[in-house]
């Protein structure tokens, strides 16, 4: 029936289909739908920049306006991937610039971005509106200056946790006077800023809703900025420091008054440096907060922190340091009844952990906050009993990431592995999509995961398991698995090679410090032409083509339509492909490959 509708009607219907997966599914129905969907697609998500080429993106989706690209594997965050591994955005920007694509939004994660890329980007797309860079590197404030100067309709510049070299330039001052379209600005990861330029920028951008400042923005400057932007919804303070008694400070009094005018703030973060006695100024904001991120606020702890938390009755997301301790988590549990997401980061990852949190805090949270669905918890220890209680109290986990400070630490009460605890979590949270394991774990937990975690898409395993069987339980059981990352676990070639077809249904597999051998990787690469099997060979550990029985320190494999990548550094080996024939692959591979 739908085939008798003109294309415009189909297109209009497809407009309501927004998620990437749904659109991918739509495109597979028939050739007509494929065609209509393809021309009307505006937003494209590419989870691995090496799975496809920019040319193919442009050929298939000539109308693309918003692009998300991800580069390095997740474990790059923890320094497991050497510098210069790859993930360059330059070829993408160049190809898009050459084409007639009207790019408006670009979101990059874990990619290498150069000043040149930013310059080309800023000059090539007249309607460019939004740049979001997360955990990227390779550029300086010169690149930011180009964006500021040339993107006349910029709405969003969001820099999250990037490594940016700061030159002496005043990039913020490069926003022209005519720039009045900003809605979101985040430069918290920089160290310096031109305060005067910042204040003028804020003053002429009345639509600014999200502003995240850096440590160079003083309390005085914050007050002036908030005066100009009482409409803010999302605020990240910079330095919240006063060098004198707040009661004697005109600035502080003004700040308190100004904050009372900011009735829209729902998300609060920052406090990179803090004078705790100034915190009462933000108490009025706490009442309406739905998201509070104090994970960089090492200066707020103890009773000051508790006072703050007690006011945040409407909180839905909380990111905090473990100096909150179990006692503090109990306060969260009794105050934040709507809490959905909790992330507890270590305030001192290498230290003795005196102020760390334990299973007690987590159980308290689960008991007080039944809506909890997303957890990241770095703790001193965990017990099976606690996990079982958490599983019972909170059956709605979508993300559950637990990291016990000591790798492979057992339940301290029973000295047993934590298999049963994690087993309870996967059994009770039927919608679980992401899981990170830690503690002492045998193959048993992997059996539970394979059996119960039907919706699991991403799994992180570290220092766990006993045998190849463990890995196989997961590969066989988790039908929706997309990303599997494993380190320091005893899985080898037998598990790797048992079901090679599985990897084409996944985005990627990472295995480091496991038991897979060079021979195993070669075999896999030969069998699977649409996989790129990379061996990261630091320190010249493996002499190529010798000793297939040698263990591979780091292996990263991913499905791709454009193997092999031509930008791999010397220490990354992609293995001989005997069967690859370019051009034969069908478009319907795209949908599965770009998930």
């Amino acid at each position: 029936m739908m085939n008798y509708f003109p294309d415009e009607v189909l297109e209009h219907v497809f407009d309501f289909v927004t998620s990437h997966r749904d659109r991918n599914a739509v495109s597979l129905v028939c050739k007509l739908w494929y065609r209509v969907e393809r021309f009307s697609r505006q937003r494209v998500f590419i989870g691995n920049c090496y799975a496809i080429s920019p040319e193919r993106l442009i050929a298939r989706f000539p109308g693309v306006k918003a692009l998300t690209l991800k580069g390095k594997p997740h474990f790059a965050d923890f320094n497991l991937v050497p510098q210069d591994w790859g993930g360059y955005v330059q070829p993408w920007i160049e190809a898009l610039a050459r084409s007639r694509i009207g790019l408006e939004e670009l979101r990059l994660k874990r990619m290498v971005v150069s000043d040149e890329s930013l310059d080309v980007l800023s000059r090539s797309f007249t309607n460019f509106k939004s740049l979001v860079l997360v955990s990227c590197e390779g550029f300086t404030t010169d690149g930011l200056a180009a964006i500021a100067a040339n993107c006349w309709f910029l709405r969003e510049l969001d820099l999250q946790e990037n490594e940016i070299e700061e030159k002496k330039n005043d990039w913020l001052g490069c926003f022209p006077d005519s720039c009045t379209s900003l809605v979101s600005l985040n430069f918290a990861c920089l160290k310096e800023v031109n305060l005067a330029a910042l204040e003028r920028l804020v003053a002429r951008n009345p639509n600014l809703k999200s502003l995240k400042l850096n440590g160079a923005v003083t309390l005085e400057a914050l007050q002036r900025i908030l005066m100009r932007a009482p409409q803010l919804v999302d605020l990240g303070t910079g330095s919240f420091v006063l060098d004198r008694d707040p009661n004697d400070s005109e600035t502080y009094k003004k700040l308190r008054a100004t904050i009372l005018q900011c009735r829209s703030i729902r998300n609060l973060s920052g406090f990179l440096k803090v004078t705790p006695r100034c915190l009462p100024a933000i108490y009025p904001i706490c009442l309406n907060l739905t998201y509070l991120n104090l994970s960089y606020a090492a200066g707020i702890h103890g009773s000051e922190l508790i006072k703050l938390i007690r006011l945040c009755g409407k909180l839905q997301r909380l990111w905090i340091l473990d100096c909150i301790e179990d006692k503090g988590l109990e306060v969260v549990a009794s105050t934040c009844k709507d809490l959905q997401e909790l992330r507890v980061f270590p305030s001192d990852p290498f230290g003795a952990g005196h102020t760390a949190v334990t299973e007690t805090g987590l159980v308290a949270i689960s008991s007080g906050c039944p809506k909890l669905n997303s957890l990241l918890y770095l703790c001193q220890q965990m017990t099976n009993a606690a996990l079982i209680a958490v599983a019972k109290n909170c059956p709605n986990f979508i993300r559950f990431r637990l990291c016990i400070r000591d790798p492979a630490k057992p339940d301290p009460v029973t000295m047993q592995p934590l298999d049963e605890g994690f087993g309870a979590i996967v059994q009770s949270s039927k919608r679980l999509r992401r899981l990170s394991l830690s503690g002492l774990l045998t193959d048993r937990v992997l059996l539970y995961i394979g059996k119960y975690a039907e919706q699991l898409e991403m799994l992180s395993i570290a220092f766990a398991g006993e045998s190849d069987k463990g890995m196989l339980y997961v590969l066989n059981g988790c039908k929706k698995l997309r990303k599997l990352e494993i380190r320091d676990s005893p899985f080898g070639d037998m598990a790797l090679l048992r079901d090679v077809g599985k990897y084409e249904t996944m985005r990627s597999l990472w295995m480091s410090s496991c038991d897979v051998t060079l021979g195993g990787c070669k075999t896999l690469a030969k069998k699977m032409p649409r996989l790129n099997v990379e061996i990261i060979n630091e320190n010249d550990q493996i002499k190529f083509a010798h000793e297939d029985s040698q263990k591979v320190e780091k292996m990263y494999l991913y499905r791709t339509l454009v193997w092999p990548r031509d930008d791999a550094p010397e220490f990354v080996w992609t293995l001989e492909k005997l069967l690859f024939t370019p051009g034969v692959l069908l478009e319907d591979q795209w949908s599965s490959l770009t998930n």
Partner: protein
């Protein structure tokens, strides 16, 4: 579990190269791999898990992203102190010294330490009675300006001090440096050299 071709010796904790009686392994990764072997090589109910030194040095553990590591754990909290070593030069001394500002409670404490370091008197005096003292302590702040020590509260000083210099009064003449006790405040923005 299968460990083809490897004897149980692989599970032995060693931080060095394989010893004489161990099977010969080409495996240079042994140090890093020891831990995975430990955790891998036990039966179901065994509690063979042991604390090892190598475990605590596992790369990338605990899994905290590198940006966060760099920016929250070493960031000095405004009220907490961590090591704050700055170079100290004294006119006439052949080499520089370093002093940890966080170890001192205030200016007089610092002055005492400096006197000990350079084996001289008078630095403490110079803070109290600048007009008559032989030495003039100055410091370079975050903006690169040379300032007279003692004007600002101690906490502010240690936050902004990048290096110290103990100048001879004779060098300071002509820079318009006025001691704190006199009619005018010292023009502390003069560049010393």
């Amino acid at each position: 579990m299968e460990k083809e071709g490897l004897g149980l010796e692989i599970t032995e904790l060693r931080l060095g190269l394989p010893g004489g009686s161990a099977p010969i392994l080409v495996d240079k990764n042994e140090k890093k791999r020891v831990f995975s072997d430990i955790s891998g090589d036990h039966d179901n109910s065994s509690t063979d898990w042991k604390l090892t030194q190598t475990k605590n040095q596992a790369v990338g553990w605990p899994p905290v992203c590198s940006y966060r590591r760099k920016n929250s754990f070493h960031e000095k909290d405004h009220l907490e102190t961590s090591k704050m070593y700055v170079k100290v030069s004294m006119d006439g001394a052949p080499f520089l010294r370093k002093v940890d500002l966080s170890m001192h409670k205030g200016y007089s404490d610092l002055a005492l330490a400096l006197e000990k370091l350079f084996d001289c008197f008078g630095i403490g005096e110079s803070l109290k009675d600048a007009e008559n003292s032989e030495q003039v302590p100055i410091y370079e702040d975050k903006d690169g300006d040379w300032m007279l020590v003692g004007d600002v509260p101690w906490e502010m000083f240690i936050e902004s001090c990048k290096r110290l210099r103990i100048m001879k009064r004779s060098e300071a003449k002509g820079f318009g440096l006025q001691p704190k006790g006199s009619d005018h405040r010292g023009n502390s923005k003069d560049v010393a050299k």
